[in-house]
């Protein structure tokens, strides 16, 4: 968890960095990233030796600080929840992870899919060395490696990693061997005993002890497998499974006779046939489930506990999110080429060139989202567009007591952090 409480929540603006100074200093700057607390900004730059490195400026420091080490290439720069800054770096063909200018000891022929645990900022990556693939968690590689690895995920407690792996190497053209099943899910390097034709979307349980994934055993038989054991019923297709935050039951959208349903541990729990159903989410207590659904072809909305909203959207619905107390759901939608936000089936009046995932305040009374209009970014709070516009902005953050909102963004050449008190009402 990040330390939301410990941050400075006094209202007012903090100028974090004057980026014109950066532009003078560096011939090459990539996209800026802001730390969760908004007090730091960083970017990949080229140093005087024309090597790639990372530059960071913290509030209160007049000068940006550049990492001492330069590299042949740096990419995927990101702040962790703890404010540490990580990136993937390569030197003389060897790749590794570098956090706050400190590289891991182990190097690889390639590293990617940098995953930062939201709990404590632990970094995990997928790696390849001499064509052997494995996941590496906090500089500790798996004991086993594989000929192929995809879909790596890290557990909620940040102690485990899982990924889809090729357990029996398949050469191009070996279609009959492929059909017998050459893929499985490996957890911390140990594959499940069962092999499948395919496996996708592994996910950990809330207590990090179990892993579920979508698998198919033949072209026609899709299952959800939990710790290697498939559900008793097969379906025509299935999307990503999810563990309940309470207990170890697993739900997944499944397809049967051309229609989609939500199934739990193999049984349909949403019996309404949908033209589409995916990206279901649980409320924090695990008691409610919401999902993106298409009740009919070409009509999209959110269904909460199998009750779809009245309103439907013709183009796209994404990013559903429950309020912390589980009573409300917000999402992004697209209609007639424009984007918007809807909360509990009510549509905010404005349309945008782009809308980002909505965020609830802790008390569930407020919803905010980053949006783009006419080439600038704004926040929309409870349906009202806030005045200030930004060239670039991070997602909104509410204070713990839900009374304030923090904006982290770039205006003119100033990277700033603005804490604003808000009216606590929902529109």
């Amino acid at each position: 968890m990040n330390n939301l409480d410990k941050w400075d929540w006094d209202t007012g603006i903090k100028q974090v960095a004057d980026l014109s100074a950066w532009q003078e200093q560096f011939s090459y700057i990539e996209e800026f990233r802001a730390s969760p607390d908004g007090e730091s900004v960083a970017a990949i730059v080229k140093n005087e030796e024309m090597e790639f490195t990372v530059c960071r400026q913290d509030f209160g420091n007049d000068e940006p600080e550049t990492w001492e080490n330069g590299y042949d290439k740096v990419w995927n720069l990101r702040f962790g929840p703890d404010g540490r800054l990580s990136a993937l770096v390569s030197d003389v063909g060897e790749w590794t992870v570098c956090t706050d200018d400190e590289a891991w000891e182990n190097g690889y022929d390639f590293v990617w899919n940098m995953t930062i645990a939201p709990q404590d900022g632990t970094v995990a990556v997928s790696t390849q060395k001499e064509l052997a693939y494995c996941a590496v968690n906090n500089d500790v590689p798996w004991q086993n490696s594989f000929s192929r690895l995809t879909d790596m995920v890290i557990s909620p407690d940040a102690k485990n990693t899982a990924a889809v792996v090729e357990t029996i190497p398949v050469l191009e053209g070996e279609i009959f061997k492929f059909r017998k099943g050459c893929y499985s899910v490996a957890v911390n390097g140990t594959p499940w005993k069962e092999n499948f034709m395919n496996a996708w979307d592994p996910v950990f349980s809330a207590n990090s002890s179990s892993v579920a994934a979508t698998v198919r055993t033949s072209y026609k038989d899709y299952y959800i497998a939990v710790d290697g054991k498939t559900w008793n019923t097969s379906f025509d297709s299935a999307w990503a499974p999810l563990f309940s935050p309470a207990g170890n039951s697993v739900t997944a959208p499944v397809k049967k006779d051309g229609k989609w349903y939500l199934a739990k541990d193999g049984d349909l729990i949403w019996n309404t046939p949908y033209a589409q159903l995916w990206h279901h989410i649980y409320s924090a207590d695990g008691k409610r489930i919401a999902a993106i659904v298409a009740p009919e072809f070409g009509k999209w909305t959110i269904s909460v506990d199998n009750a779809p909203w009245q309103v439907t959207f013709s183009e796209y619905v994404s990013d559903p999110v429950f309020s912390p107390d589980g009573t409300s759901v917000a999402c992004v939608f697209k209609e007639k080429g424009k984007w918007g936000i809807a909360v509990d089936g009510k549509v905010w009046k404005d349309r945008f060139d782009m809308a980002y995932p909505p965020v609830f305040s802790n008390d569930g009374m407020s919803v905010a989202a980053k949006v783009e209009m006419g080439g600038f970014y704004h926040y929309v709070l409870n349906g009202e567009i806030l005045d200030s516009r930004y060239k670039s902005v991070e997602p909104p953050l509410f204070s713990h007591d839900s009374s304030k909102i923090m904006i982290r963004g770039l205006q003119l050449n100033d990277w700033k952090r603005d804490v604003v008190a808000i009216n606590r009402r929902r529109i």
């Binding site: 033209a275 009919e296 072809f297 070409g298």
Partner: protein, 219 residues
């Protein structure tokens, strides 16, 4: 003979018309229901403007490249379908029957026109038969059913022509003419002749797809 005539113009005629009407309605309804159930997306893409645009092009002689490449087929097909449609409805002998039985009447074709159109249908059928036998790509596709349909279509016109011109045996031929006409009516909902009703939909659908989504011509 008289009772045969009574029967074929009475109960059998009623039956033929009822089967034709209700059979067609049933066919339509069941296809519509099936489409709603299984091809819901089709309705999403149907677009009246583009459907009519496509139908318009294909109901215009030489309105498509396909027709231009097959001029004889185009000419024959158009004349055939026009005659096939107009003659039974507007020939004097048929209108008289409507007048006698239901006291309704409408425009009639001059006899000589109807006569020529009848010959057109008969010759067209001969042309289609020739195509089916002679052109390898048509022959390959042809089934017994296709010949039977050709016969079902040609028969009322051949017998009608015969009866009208009072060639030998025309009394019996008249009965056969009536029966063959009724067979054709009955056949419409249950055979490939139903294409007369599905044409606007298949054409309209591909027209909608090409016009509305693919932004291309379909002719």
């Amino acid at each position: 003979m008289y009772s045969h005539y009574e029967f074929v113009t009475g109960p059998f005629a009623w039956m033929a018309f009822l089967i034709f009407i209700f059979g067609s309605i049933y066919r339509f309804y069941s296809l519509y229901k099936l489409a709603r159930k299984k091809d819901g997306a089709v309705f999403e893409y149907m677009d009246l403007k583009f459907a009519l645009r496509s139908i318009g092009h294909w109901l215009t002689p030489f309105g498509s490249r396909s027709m231009k490449l097959n001029p004889s087929m185009t000419v024959v097909t158009f004349l055939f379908h026009i005659s096939l449609f107009l003659v039974p409805i507007f020939v004097f002998g048929h209108v008289v029957l409507w007048k006698e039985n239901f006291d309704i009447s409408w425009f009639t074709l001059p006899n000589i026109v109807a006569d020529i159109m009848t010959l057109i249908v008969i010759c067209s059928c001969a042309f289609f038969l020739w195509r089916r036998i002679k052109l390898p790509e048509v022959r390959y596709l042809t089934t017994v059913g296709d010949y039977v349909i050709l016969l079902i279509v040609a028969a009322p016109f051949i017998t009608g022509f015969w009866a009208y011109h009072q060639f030998p045996g025309f009394a019996a031929i008249t009965i056969i003419h009536i029966i063959s006409g009724e067979i054709m009516l009955i056949a419409i909902p249950f055979t490939k002749l139903f294409h007369m009703f599905t044409f606007p939909f298949t054409r309209g659908y591909i027209g909608s797809e090409f016009g509305g989504i693919r932004m291309a011509k379909d002719w």
